[in-house]
Amino acid sequence: MKNYSFYKAASALCYLIFIAFILSSSPALANKPLRPLLSERQQNQISGTITDGKAPLPGVTIAIKNRINYAVLSDFDGKYTLLAKANDTLVVSYIGYKTAIIPINYRKNIHIQLQEDITSLQEVRINAGYYSVNEKERTGSIVRITAKDIEKQPVNNPLAAMQGRMAGVNIVQNTGLPGGGFSIQIRGINSIRSEGNEPLYIVDGVPFASQSLADPTIAASAITGLANPLNNLNPADIESIEVLKDADATAIYGSRGANGVVLITTKKGRSGETRFSLDAFSSMGKISRSLDLMNTKQYLKMRAEAFANDGITSYPANAYDINGTWDPNRDVDWTKLLLGGTALVNNIQLAVSGGKDNTQYLVSGTYRRETTVFPGDSHYDKGAVHSSLNHSSSDQRFRIQFSTNYTSDSNSLPGRDLTYRVYSLAPNAPELYNDQGKLNWEGGTFNNPLAVLEGQYHTANTNLLANSLLSYQLVPGLQLKTSMGYNETTLSQTITSPLSIYNPFDTSTHQASLYIANGKGTSWILEPQMNYTKKFHRLDLDLLLGSTFQNQETTRLAQMGSGFTSDALINNMKAASTIAMINHEVVEFRYNAAFSRLNLKWDEKYILNLTGRRDGSSRFGDGNRFANFGAIGAAWIFSKESFFQNRQSLLSFGKIRSSYGISGSDQIGDYQYLDTYQVSPYLYNTVSGLAPSRLYNPDFGWETNKKLELGLELGFLQDQFFLSAAWFKNRSSNQLIGVPLPATTGFPSIQSNFDATVENTGLEVELRSAHLKKKNFSWTTSLNLTVPKNRLVAFPNLEASTYANSLVLGKSLSIRKVFHYTGIDPQTGAYTFKDYNDDGQITFEADRQLIADTSPKFYGGMGNQISFGNWNFDSHFQFVKQLGRNYLYTASLAGTFVNQAKEMLSHFPQDGSTAIAQQYSTGENSTLVEAYYNFRDSNAAFSDASFIRLKSVSLSYKIPNWSKKGSATVYVQGQNLLTFTHFRGPDPENQSFSSLPPLRQFSVGFQLGF
């Protein structure tokens, strides 16, 4: 079997699908009933309305007892129709309501009123990827949010909607610009390599590449370098997001599950009458926090003092701010001028859905436009089309699910974030525009921050994701399935730098340039599976076998033209006098696996879940390509034991679960095991040279992550009060890292497995309480809290290694060794630091002994949902306790031609040796310069960055009696409305001085259904 070719497999598979089709459509086979009917009587059409006593309930599942795979959903008016026999029994279920079991009893019209029930949340099916589990019977650790939570937030990226809502999942928004990036950590950092900690994203069964296609040669300097590919998904099309955390849930994803798995499921159609829905909102965003800066008077005083301190009496010619070139009385609030705008978001979505018993469909289209807080007309546009089709043969044995998601976005943001300029421009810098309305260069003395807007920066993305799932029930209990997925992503970037972005008073060295980059990623995946379920007396058995074939190809092409004769021709590469090919690469990645799951359930009390996967990846050299992963999970629903059931107990539900297993990580990049030369980006004598690609190491293999988990779930008072707690301990070893090397080896690092172990332990608590549950009023509070701990457990010979400088045994990976700041020297006016080895000097190696740990101490969120009649109120707080880098970390030397935070007014000697700033200097005093550098690397640059943020608020009102058939809801929403923090800097979340902080948004919208 080892050399069994894929192509043979592919043809076999096609054959299989073909057979499935034949089977489903052949009357002889497909219409043969699964079991003999009790009587030969015709099926009758049964119809009715489902309500909660007040209003109709749409989307309720109506199934027939003992008939597998047959169910319909109630339509928008709560109406349903189905075919059943007169002596069948209906099973009516809906999230949040008690399941009703109603015998048909020869009736044709059956109106059903459901009773609200909190217990039934336990009945929800949770998507675990290759299979789904009943919430109450789950053995693994899975958290989820649903469309309900996402809809309440006017966000562009699904990750934003998850912030603060999931225990064990820490998400940070990196920039307030539309289309910007997020970083996500599921149960802490596992890999020493900072880029090796991405979770696996699966959208409708198709792996979604988490790396941006942006050309790496320029991505770093432009905003969209931070782009997150999940921007390519439309949050409004998402039905649910599940995050798999422990070994039980992730081991079936084998080598890619080490950092957790994010499963995204898009919306599906529901049967019922054709229904249209329209959702539109507009939102306004402003920056919520910024750095408090010096005004002109304070700034110029600092400058004058700096020159005086350095013994400079006549101001140099280029000290324009103070030598009289610029107006000393001008005082500009650059924050207001450059970041003070309002970012507008307009979002509209139209959806049509409907269907009959065997076929359901959904088509939706979304358009979104966002602007920025910067001056100018930069904007971000996104369009998305989502469609979903479900069909089943009339005997329910053959089923097909097909869905496509297409998004296209276009981003014409400024090439640079203006935030950094805002925090550094002198407050008396001149006007942005001159009298003619042109950019003002003030005679060449002013590097106008708006010059970057003269250049065009344009990124366009498209993403197509298509998935189909075919299944055929061969015999009762045995189902064959094939999931097929295709994903195509393209990205094109155009950057123009016309001559007008350069200071016209120094034209001699500038050339207009055009940069064009294109990236394309295609990937297909094929996963044939077999599922067998059987009940033997009190034992339920569920067996899944499957395999995966995946191929991913990425192409990047980038070129740059310069020397355009005129700015007018800048968009045409042919007009460039020099054209340079910057990058052209084609990367192929192949992946193959076999997986299985065996779930055993005894008496619905004792559950055992075994999962395993054998993975092969093209990222490793011969002999290291395959590895095995697996996990065991178990749960005991002790509340089902007779001694609990017999008593009138407070406890309505109780479960203990545990899991242990191994998953892995292959995030090391492609081709790293090859000994090659590659085409160099540079030419010599007009031809491309060949450059060594890397230091050669063919022997590295998978990184392994061992996860242990213990969980307890308790429900009290009919689950009105529900507590779940989990403790985990994950150990990541055989670390796959680029071991840093000194430059004398020719390369900065070598790819290798390293025998270091990183441990993540933590406690996660989730609490839900439905305080009030009245007919017209309900109030629910939910709370989640994660207390994580990250620790480097083992690192052989750390002291002698290249990591001696950045890691400490027993501490977290997010540490930095820093100098210990001890105040200002009254003699020199310079910052002083603790001299640990008493050698009389402060050296980098010996005296950075203090540790600043920026990993979060705890984080979580608290949400409240209140509904009162037609009113719904929802609020969510996010909180994080952490240490962070404050403004001192990136501040320039106080006294130079750069503005400073207002805090820096407290300085030596005026404010003594406990002042914040040392003696001001223009950079001529080397003692002060050196002390300044050390200060940035000292504990003074780290301070509390904890925050509590009112992440989202939503208030909606459902207009009663809007129309006979339709409904209307109006709503207002707020995002990041309030932040409570002591952080010394603009924003405690992104802690950046060069990126825009997350915006405070306020939106108004409505939903119409008809």
Binding site: T509, Y682, T744, T745, G746
Partner: protein, 459 residues
């Protein structure tokens, strides 16, 4: 019956599919933009491409590159050639002699140079194992790699003093490689240049003088002997070049830095056709006050009156605020239809100056005078009046300053090797300490390789 057969068949097919883990499937081809290392050394063309890239890397980064982060600018600022009032603290540290070991320009120099040395070593090892390249080509390529290795180590020893001499690609060895003594380093450099000179042929491997041949190794040897104060050999090697008919003295200084200059021994090709030098792009400015480094007014004033070089090789910018000067040896800041200027690393004038200095030390007054006058006359200056070894050495130093300014740090290396840095820089650089004849070894490198401790004195 039929159904059962079908069922069984389907199950069998599926089971086969699921259970197969295919080695074939996950084997990927070598990416089209890469070649395996042994294949590179199976043909002269690909081995040549690997060699060419080392030159391209040398042009783009490290010691002799023409940007602000090459020696022309950094050591121009460090010595008395240039001044800087811009905003880069990294460059300012050179101007003000306040360099800290974490200075990123120093790290960049170090990293780029050792990466280029690695590439040279990889070529030497590849050639060693190659059987398909003709001996003639093999020898020339070997010669080039050896030459570049010595050339790069030359700059390292001059800037940092004791450094590791890296002659293999074994990273396990190289990650803890200790420093060699300065004496050992100079010996390695000399021997390898001598070997290179033997291996290299008279012909350049390209039509233009953009890669090393025998004469380039010869010119480098002359410079190395001068630095080692081996006056006899320095004069001998310089003579060999001066007498070589391939290299013809350019009498008009305005033509000295054009790409066709017949006095050029080795220049760097700019890569794309139509591109000119980085030096022009980075140094030349046309308005003031400049944000770029500028030539120090004191340096410009040091030209003798009537020196053509002051007008031809220095650009003066004046306005109501003041007057500023920039280097103007290379003038083409933008692309042209065909390239007009290449960055020149070795030229005949330096060889005359080397011989003049060597002859002055050897007591050959007339010889030294004649070499010096060759340079002076071209610059429109009268014959030198110096007629003793001491006065001649002083005149040579002066002449080197005027002739070789902003060319890969000549001025600084001259001050250092003639022990005059203290006398020249003390009065004009407030931050000067005499330990500053060596730059600090980059902080990052010391942290990665403890064998490089201790840091150079004074840092």
């Amino acid at each position: 019956m039929k159904t059962i057969q079908f069922t069984l068949y389907v199950i069998a097919t599926l089971a086969m599919l699921i259970c197969s883990s295919c080695e074939d499937f996950i084997a990927v081809d070598i990416p089209q933009s890469q070649l395996t290392s042994p294949i590179v050394f199976e043909s002269t063309a690909t081995a040549d491409a690997a060699m060419a890239d080392v030159y391209a890397q040398i042009r783009e980064q490290g010691m002799v590159n023409g940007t602000f982060y090459g020696l022309s600018n950094l050591m121009g600022n460090y010595s008395d050639e240039m001044e800087y009032y811009g905003s880069s603290i990294e460059i300012k540290q050179f101007t003000n002699h306040s360099i800290v070991p974490s200075n990123s320009s120093i790290l960049a120099l170090w990293n780029a140079t050792y990466s280029q040395i690695y590439a040279s070593n990889l070529i030497l090892e590849g050639l060693e194992n190659s059987t398909k390249i003709a001996d003639e080509d093999k020898n020339h390529l070997k010669g080039e790699a050896l030459f570049l290795r010595a050339f790069l180590h030359f700059y390292l020893v001059n800037l940092f003093g004791e450094v590791p001499y890296v002659s293999s690609t074994d990273y396990i060895l190289n990650k803890t490689i200790p420093k060699s003594s300065q004496q050992q380093l100079w010996e390695h450099i000399t021997t390898e240049l001598q070997q290179a000179e033997v291996l290299l042929s008279e012909h350049y491997p390209t039509t233009e003088r953009i890669r090393a041949n025998k004469s380039v190794a010869n010119a480098m040897l002359a410079r190395v002997y001068l630095y080692k104060e081996d006056w006899t050999n320095a004069a001998l090697k310089a003579s060999a070049l001066i007498e070589n008919p391939k290299y013809v003295w350019v009498t008009n200084p305005a033509l000295e830095f054009l790409k066709e200059s017949t006095a050029t021994i080795w220049a760097l090709h700019p890569g794309y056709p139509g591109v000119n030098t980085k030096d022009a792009r980075f140094f030349v400015f046309s308005s003031g006050p400049p944000s770029k480094p500028e030539l120090s007014p004191a340096f410009v004033a040091s030209f003798e009156s009537g020196d053509l070089r002051k007008n031809l090789w220095v650009r003066t910018i004046s306005n109501s605020v003041g007057t500023w000067y920039c280097p103007y040896k290379y003038k083409k800041t933008l692309g042209t239809t065909t390239s007009q200027e290449y960055t020149i690393l070795f030229r005949l004038a330096e060889q005359y100056l080397i011989r003049a200095e060597a002859r002055a030390h050897l007591g050959d007054i007339a010889g030294a005078q004649s070499d010096l006058n060759k340079i002076r006359n071209r610059a429109g200056l009268a014959n030198t009046t110096a007629d003793t070894p001491e006065s001649l050495l002083e005149a040579v130093a002066m002449e080197r300053r005027s002739e070789l300014f902003t060319e890969q740090g000549h001025r600084w290396f001259d001050l250092k090797r003639t022990n005059t840095a203290e006398a020249v820089l003390r009065p004009i650089k407030s931050g000067w300490e005499n330990t500053q004849v060596l730059l600090p070894i980059p902080q990052a490198e010391l942290l990665l390789n403890k064998q490089l401790l201790p840091q150079n004195p004074g840092y």
